[in-house]
């Protein structure tokens, strides 16, 4: 068992490294970096929704919070290492508090959706109304609608003048995404992750087994918040400006669409869904023929109707079907394919 994991680990590292070096050949890194960041953001919702069964309409809140936490602390501190940590901690703590409030209050699905949505709206409205000079944290003006530009961007730890930007930001983002992906993978294989999936399947049963689902959901929610926060901090570094738009409803909607399209309950689905759709949006912006929102809307409706499980599971089953046909002569091997279904 362990050997297989090690093998898979090595293999995926090689694939990731090859991708990391190959992608810049076909696309510019400044296009790739945000796709990776969105991939990470999609993954964070994919974790808590796809595996934890928590439908959060407020993932944008953690993303925005991470970006703002980074920008504000970077202005105050200067060197980027501690701000990066703060940008992960703040959304994680906030998610833990919010999650505790919701899960210990035993709120149902829809109500969870409402509260997370409302919290996102509160951030959006609040941040939008902070243009006045009174809204200052340390030396950082919150800036309202215009957001915060001109903060210290990512630097090599300890060397505030050696910026990591452009191509190097791409590589750093790629590595962080791979690391985050493996952490999520590891988490899902750990007893904690298996219990989380069990909670998604049947809360009452898990509670009858003796697990405290409230605490576990809260922790999972906080982990999702932390990953979204990291994505937010990277986004702040890439865009070099943070604005309240990060908290907007459309941002939240997009994250959900990524997950649906990519495939809920899969590990790669939300990442690929995010990167793919963000790239599509980028391409659509270079034409003026059809409004981008029509396409996004149609994609969401059509997927919910016809491919509710998303692309990755669909591709997987098509692939399995074709492989299954070829392997029909070796019936003994057919069992193998399905062990993945719960992962």
């Amino acid at each position: 068992m362990r050997e297989i994991t090690l093998q898979r680990f090595t293999l995926s590292i090689i694939i990731a490294a090859a991708l990391m070096l190959f992608l810049p050949v076909i696309m510019n890194t400044f296009v790739l970096t945000p796709l990776l960041i969105y991939g990470m953001l999609g993954m964070s919702l994919g974790l808590i929704w796809g595996f934890g069964g928590i439908l959060c309409f407020g993932q944008a809140a953690f993303f925005g919070l991470g970006a703002y936490a980074y920008a504000i602390s970077a202005i105050n501190i200067g060197e980027s290492t501690i701000p990066m940590l703060i940008a992960v901690m703040v959304p994680a703590i906030f998610a833990a508090v919010l999650g505790a409030m919701m899960f210990y209050g035993r709120l149902g699905d829809v109500y969870l959706g409402v509260i997370t949505l409302v919290v996102t709206l509160i951030f959006f409205k609040f941040m939008n109304s902070t243009a006045g000079p009174d809204y200052v944290i340390g030396t950082a003006r919150l800036g309202g609608f215009n957001g915060i530009p001109g903060f210290q961007t990512l630097n090599i730890p300890g060397l505030p003048d050696d910026y990591i930007y452009g191509d190097s930001l791409y590589y750093v983002t790629f590595v962080l995404l791979v690391v985050a992906y493996w952490l999520v993978n590891w988490l899902l294989q750990s007893p904690f992750g298996r219990v989380a999936v069990a909670i998604r399947e049947n809360e009452q049963r898990v509670s009858l087994m003796g697990y405290d689902i409230r605490a576990r959901k809260t922790i999972l929610f906080a982990i999702g918040g932390a990953i979204a926060g990291l994505a937010g901090a990277l986004f702040a570094n890439w865009a070099e400006i943070v604005t309240p738009g990060l908290f907007s409803l459309s941002q939240t909607a997009e994250i959900i669409i990524w997950c649906i399209v990519g495939g809920l309950g899969t590990r790669l689905g939300p990442i690929l869904g995010a990167a793919g759709l963000a790239y599509l949006k980028f391409l659509l912006g270079q034409q003026a023929f059809i409004d981008n929102t029509i396409i996004m809307g149609l994609i969401l409706v059509l997927f919910v109707l016809f491919l509710p499980k998303g692309l990755i599971p669909a591709i997987e089953s098509v692939w399995k079907l074709s492989v299954g046909k070829r392997r029909r002569c070796h019936p003994s091997r057919r069992r193998k394919g399905r062990a993945i279904t719960n992962g």
Binding site: A198, V206, L208, G210
Partner: protein
Amino acid sequence: MAETVLETSGLTMTFGGVTACDAVDFKLKARELRCLIGPNGAGKSTFFKCLTGLLKPTSGAVFMQGEETTNWHTHEISSLGVGIKTQVASVLDGVTVHENIWLAARRFFSSSIAETKAKETIERLYLGDIAKSNVGQLAHGERQRVELGIVAAGDPWLVLLDEPAAGMTSEDVDRMTEIIREMTTTAAVIIVEHDMQFIRSIATDVTVFHQGGILLEGNVEQVMSDETVRNVYLGKKA
């Protein structure tokens, strides 16, 4: 031997104006097997839910191994080593039988011991053939057995079963009877059940609920022949 593991005193549950459970005093000894019977609406299911923490009683108290657990959450009660099976099979549909049982065992044991426990339980419950199947694809009887496996995997000292035999084939019921018998070697068992045949085959002692309270307790044959019980229970049913 005579140690009391479960006790309620004055356990009362009211919904709006209706008293579903009326000052129930109940005792259960270690490794005892007891069936709760009674007509529909007699309060046995409400009583069961109060024991498991699925409902919070209006007044009265529940003690388990001497500890008061009255307003505890379900997970806190089961963490004491109480195995619970609800009326409708409550299993994890999207994952395998093995995963279901492993998760139940993992609550009480480390990962590797849980693995052994899960294997043992799967053997014990004849689930070996379907251990790798997703529970969602299984037949009703199999699902009931999986849930029993979940209950058994944690080596409980108290097992609470709500209608375990409902909707099962006679073959399944026989298997179930055997499994529950085996459980009583280590645990006290409470079964809420309608199926008289099943009760006769398994129980020695029964408690009859009527109108929210306990009508009678005693040996199964003795209770069955009791005039009052026949009137309230069997009479009504006919």
